[in-house]
Symmetry: C2
Subunit: 151 residues, 2 copies
């Protein structure tokens, strides 16, 4: 018999993994319309918050490695969403800036967050319960983040 701790239905990580994949799939048709993937959409959100950032800052904000972000940014540059240029002050840095096409996507995608958000609502996920969901996920992220960086 399987040990109970191994039952999939007792696994938090499997739920997170599945929920994350399914939401990404839910985004897909709306983002694909603009030629974007979900990670690319995350990069846009980082740059909409603050334009002209070095690769490292973008990676840190998304908690990704630079070796994940670099090719992602290159693809987005090829698509004309942003530009990559050597930093003048520090020649090691690559400064990433939005193009007009990249900035304009904020208008074109304006309805996406609301569409996704409302599609998730159900009995256990409501405007009243979402703050506690955020708090628990932030707790998990904070907990694991420390573990990583302390080593």
């Amino acid at each position: 018999m399987i040990k109970p701790q191994f039952k999939l239905d007792n696994q938090l990580c499997f739920r997170l993994y599945t929920a994350s994949r399914l939401i990404t799939q839910a985004y897909h048709p709306m983002l694909a319309e603009q030629g974007l993937t979900y990670p690319q959409y995350l990069v846009l959100m980082v740059l909409w918050e603050k334009d002209a950032q070095p690769v490292n800052d973008i990676a840190k904000r998304l908690r990704l490695e630079t070796n994940t972000v670099t090719p992602l940014l290159k693809r987005m540059e090829t698509e004309g969403f942003l530009t990559r240029s050597r930093g003048r002050e520090d020649a090691r840095q690559i400064i990433v800036k939005l193009t007009k096409k990249g900035r304009d996507l904020q208008e074109k995608l304006a309805d996406v967050p609301e569409a996704i958000g409302s599609s998730l609502l159900c009995e256990s996920v409501t405007p009243a319960t979402i703050p506690s969901l955020y708090a628990m996920l932030d707790g998990i992220i904070h907990q694991l983040q420390n573990k990583q960086t302390n080593q």
Copy 2:
């Protein structure tokens, strides 16, 4: 100025995406010790629950596509964790069975769920709050699952 709905800190999906990646990273050292990846560990849990399943049932249980699971299973076969054989009743099916090596991993990994589980605990994530976290994640998964299959 950025529209507030685009702020990363207001995004549920980004939290799920990050939490999922960080937990997978937390599993990594323990699984790598046995030559496993996290998705491969999920496959093992499916087969520990019920051995000798066709590819399709494993994919459905993990909510993955067969074109993701097939190469995953092939790698696990190469590593000697399982066998793949044509179904006798239905020759289209590939029946996946654990080897002794695959079954024995349940003992070797016995402490993993507890190690991961306890490493996540924090102020907002406690044995008392985890059921509501499960309920919300299950709600999201159920909601999106329906959306997919209804189309």
